[in-house]
Symmetry: C2
Subunit: 338 residues, 2 copies
Amino acid sequence: MKNQIIKTNASIICGASVVGHKEHDGPIGHLFDIYDENDRFKQKTWEKSENQMQKLAFENALRKARLQVCDIDALFAGDLLNQCIGSAYGLLDFDIPYFGLYGACSTIIEGIILASSLISGGVFKKCAAVTSSHFCSAEQQYRTPLEYGGQRSPTAQWTVTGSGAFIVGEETESKVRITAALPGIVIDKGVNDAANMGAAMAPAAIDTLIRFFEQSETSPEDYDAIFTGDLGYEGSIILKELMAVEGYDMSINYEDCGNIIFDRERQDVHSGGSGCGCSAVVLASYILPKIQSGEYKKVLMIGTGAMMSPSSLKQGLSIPAIAHLIMLEHAEVQNGNI
Amino acid sequence: MKNQIIKTNASIICGASVVGHKEHDGPIGHLFDIYDENDRFKQKTWEKSENQMQKLAFENALRKARLQVCDIDALFAGDLLNQCIGSAYGLLDFDIPYFGLYGACSTIIEGIILASSLISGGVFKKCAAVTSSHFCSAEQQYRTPLEYGGQRSPTAQWTVTGSGAFIVGEETESKVRITAALPGIVIDKGVNDAANMGAAMAPAAIDTLIRFFEQSETSPEDYDAIFTGDLGYEGSIILKELMAVEGYDMSINYEDCGNIIFDRERQDVHSGGSGCGCSAVVLASYILPKIQSGEYKKVLMIGTGAMMSPSSLKQGLSIPAIAHLIMLEHAEVQNGNI
């Protein structure tokens, strides 16, 4: 059974997104549910702003699903901050069993895989997966204080200020079915440039994608769309080139959420968006509605995460990465309340 | 179904423990599988030493279970280091789907709950849960550099240098059955003293324990033993006092792993042991064998975690905590290979 596709019978009842100013100003800015003009969400620290984003995203997801806090059996949550305080404090108000995750930027897909697998196995009925990243809290923790104004390299990505929350339920509760999942394996191909996460994460995405195509006996053209989380401009080019070498043409229907969320030229984001929030808000606001409406019948969504820390890089280690995959399908028949 | 006990049909096939010098020198030091006299495990940094401990613990667990890497469907792992690099790098050599967790010191029980729930639901057949903490890597990240020689307050705990790994399998594979699980809710009672984690975590343990007793209609005397992960001397006194107020007598069969692992007086550890490794190595080496042999028929094990970060404390926030519970039972009949 090792490394095998998990057949899931679950659905995404709804997704909610909360973003900052720059994301709202981007090409899909009009699709997000909530945004704050100064990225502070009325809080005094960037970390508290991130907490508030998670709270707003989860509350909004509950509202959209017409559910109460007491309807949710478990929360799966995580973020990029040390000790995942974005989630622990952000979701503190909700009296729900809590599973803290750390999958770096792949966290939302890790959470959806666990939620949908446990629902498929009859353990839970409804779960939520929540994640966030904030440009300012990430910048000061991973790189330099904002005031420093450090130059960014061309391959560097821009951490998305955003939080996404998803309510995952049983199969018949929505038109957006989660029909399969493939958890990732930690892969380290020796990339040690912290300003080029796309290159570090692309091999993990390729590993998961190829395992999925081989086991499912499908190829890219069997899907309406294939998305990676935050490989960005650099990483998605690497993915396309290396997948072509392996015999998979990704040029037609593949895109990265980091390329979708920002206008690379106009918004000066170099290699595109990144962060836990990147894939989460694009999935919630751009991808899910297209599956809901039937525009996409079959989609692959791959969360990508770089699992290093500033300390491990300073100690000369390279960047391990992971990529978790879910298959989402449009279902015509629907008995749920959405 | 909210906040309810999960009925699980799984078993702990085996546990393995790797510790440092001080743990080996403690009251149960002779029970641990592997130890290193200078806590370095032949590595050049404390973080790499922690990686090596996880690797050794997992390899040893596989060996004890007479299993290969390819027999394990999923790894559930996490630790205290920023971005959980103890696990991401420590388990990098193993080609196994990886779910990164962050539950602070409750991580091993969080991992065992997820593994046993997914096995009970038929999603996986065999999983591993792995965690670690290292006194030196934790000290320099959370407190002060070792060379600083900071004074410790009486309520402060000593981070255990240890890694525990568990192989979780289907019901009939071992005499140690996981028959129930109750995931924790994040609780913040306003404690903001980073040198008194026991006080911060005790309310979370009490919340989970009382929910468990009420739902299962049992009380402490129905169990041969009840263990918390790392409340230490201070926290376990608080737990006993507050549980007594609620009508539960914890004085007979309750102990904390942080009190078991060190000799508080002789080893100068103030309020006892703490860290992800604390509950993991005590469970693997002290508790599991007693269930295996039938000395304990029914045990509650509660992983306790403090979910704050040094940043959140500096910003004036209090310490949120969580406690995850599993019920372990001795089964006479066994069809497995151990």
